[in-house]
Chain length 376, copies 2
DNA sequence: GATCTCCCTGCAAACCTTTGCATTGAAGTA
DNA sequence: TACTTCAATGCAAAGGTTTGCAGGGAGATC
């Protein structure tokens, strides 16, 4: 039933190799023959069997995309961007969800290793050493985690957190809380580090609450703690948690931003739809998806995967590019942050007045720090 | 570099076929040999090459999942459920996003056809005839669309829409609007049909606005129309649109539910977090994902795909199961619906008073209508 | 007219695995 | 002891494609 290259060859009266070349190296075949073959192929509905092709070329033209949680609206834009970028290059994307579970991550990498040309590991929860080990099994690009010797796509959440804290301090807040993200998250650590430093620099206190699951529920569950901590401003690990917190505070009768200001991270589409609209640190997720695919495919074309001719072309000392790209973030001020108790006292330069809407531009210029490492 | 079955055979001193059997038919190999082979395989980090296996068995152990829009929170639960169900059966899931584009759908089915054992087509936008045609290329299970002769997983949105309209009528609404979904959506047609009938039965007017893109923006854009139509209650194609409408009405100063009641469909997790909380028709998305995978895999085990031995085992008159499963929906009443202008006038039986919270049970009992069809 | 180029096409091996059949050898039976 | 049975293993073909190499033929050059 399935039509193979052989059927096309028979129909068009040429050898299968000619049919093969018609598709993979058209310039090598006579134009007349080519059109004839193409016509027959079209006619019969022939489509090359990618598995068979993969067997010999060593390239599946698939890439794996491992995601902590598809239900987190942070990821879909990244996934879509990665898919569209991949599709342009005739690659397909395998999306897999780990449910925020490090063990599932490892298993998925193994499972995907043989059927993809590379894996995008997004916001991994497993250890650095394990990631390094897995990278020997299949080319890896890591998103939202910095690892020496591996290509990484990072978002500058540190800068974002700093801006957020400075924004809050400028509004007159001194007692702040940070809702930490999940254990094992590089982003969470990064935000915490930067936020602490920024708070210290601004003369503010920062209470860290967490780690927490990075979901609405995780944020909602901390509402009580936030109130008890007596803070007037909160930075949450992500928008989902911030939205949950908004909900929780509302249930407790705490008004936002009059009594407590809330800032999220990610700028998911939802954060424009909450009441009040959420002030948040916009992360360039789509750009990250595109960039990660580019880096993976770049790496892929660099390393010939099939060692045709056996031991002759030993791949010793292959150079692997390990560029690390840092994408910029931007604070988007909306309605969930307002003046704090110290508004107008100090720091007179920073406007403590009503926050106007703030149009953000797409940060299209990644800061690139490239480096080459000799792979084993 | 990649370790093959041959390496394992060499290391353990047996023939490759014995290694193969160790994995695919363990009972055929001597226990001692087996442990030795397994040890060697473990040692070398051997993992069978699925592409090569697929070439001969005709099964890739992958399934494709084609989704209109991953960013729509309706889908992630379905995807997760499908993935987890598939993983239990040692299958992997290829997720692809079509951006609500019928042409992209067709192309994706073609592209996936050869590298998966079957495709789950979720909320397709293309024509029935095209779907039927594609189903001859690769086994298909269709979700959210009813097609004779093809296995389908449906959610009873008709019943849901009816309940919603009855709920609104019971609250004293007579002038209602329906925000239609995207063109080509079976669900949208179904909702429209049922809602119209229910409105007629309840003596209410139903203005249909649309079709619309099934997003927040789509809903938001219709706020003005809704106000102009002078209706007091709106049923939206999905929660996303309902949420957008909420936003739009708020911007226009229209209070919900005091002036206009709003009902959505899907019960995405967000609808618990809007202000007011959204009354909606809960659809069993996770169950749909699980069921669809089950049906696909069932079909897959029924049809031997590789006709080894060539013409001898002609697959003529193969029976294909085409069960159609209808999953039940349920109205979840929250805070976005309230009494209408005719509250308490007629229909005294139906309580027009404040809507109490309503706990919904997981509708775990699918209504199954099975049928066998002889495939060509 | 003979030789050389060069374009096009065919040939066959290779990729890694599965699986029907053949072979081996040991245990069981008469 | 000779024969059957059966479990365990080896052999080799097959699956669909790519690709290095070789061959064929037409046109060009001398």
């Amino acid at each position: 039933m399935p039509v193979t290259i052989r059927d096309v060859a028979r129909a068009s009266g040429v050898h299968i190799s000619t049919v093969s070349r018609t598709f993979s190296a058209p310039h090598l075949v006579n134009p007349e023959t080519r059109v004839r073959v193409l016509a027959c192929a079209e006619d019969l509905g022939y489509r090359p069997n990618r598995a068979a092709r993969a067997l010999i070329t060593g390239r599946t033209h698939n890439i794996g995309l491992i995601i902590a949680d598809i239900a987190n609206p942070f990821f879909p834009p990244l996934i879509k961007a990665a898919e569209s970028q991949a599709r342009h290059r005739d690659y397909h994307v395998f999306v897999a969800d780990t449910n925020e579970d490090a063990a599932a991550e490892e298993e998925l990498v193994h499972a995907l290793a043989k059927q993809v040309d590379g894996v995008l590991l997004c916001s991994p929860r497993m250890s650095n050493s394990l990631i390094e080990q897995l990278s020997r099994e299949v080319p890896l690009v890591v998103v939202n985690r910095q690892l020496a010797g591996l290509p990484c796509v990072l978002m500058d959440v540190g800068q974002g957190a700093r801006s957020a804290i400075e924004h809050l301090a400028g509004l007159g807040h001194r007692e702040m809380a940070l809702l930490g993200g999940p254990r094992g998250s590089w982003t969470s650590r990064e935000i915490r580090r930067a936020a602490s430093a920024a708070a210290r620099a601004a003369g503010a206190d920062l209470t860290v609450l967490g780690p927490n699951p990075p979901t609405e529920t995780g944020g909602l569950a901390q509402a009580e703690q936030v109130r008890r901590a007596g803070v007037t401003a909160v930075l949450a690990y992500n928008d989902l948690m911030a939205i949950g917190l908004l909900e929780g505070l509302d249930a407790l009768g705490v008004r936002v931003p009059q009594e407590v200001s809330v800032v999220g991270v990610d700028d998911i589409s939802l954060s424009r739809l909450t009441r009040p609209k959420l002030t948040t640190v916009a992360t360039p997720t789509a750009a990250a998806g595109r960039t990660a695919v580019d880096m993976l495919l770049q790496q892929d074309t660099d390393l010939p995967r099939t060692a045709r001719g056996g031991g002759a072309t030993v791949a010793v000392g292959v150079r692997r590019t390990t560029a690390q790209v840092m994408l910029q973030t931007e604070l988007v001020i909306r309605d969930s942050t307002g003046p704090g108790p110290y508004a107008g006292r100090e720091r007179p330069g920073t406007a403590a007045a009503g926050p106007g809407p703030h149009r953000r531009a797409d940060p299209g210029n990644p800061v690139v720090a490239a480096g080459d490492v000799v792979a084993s």
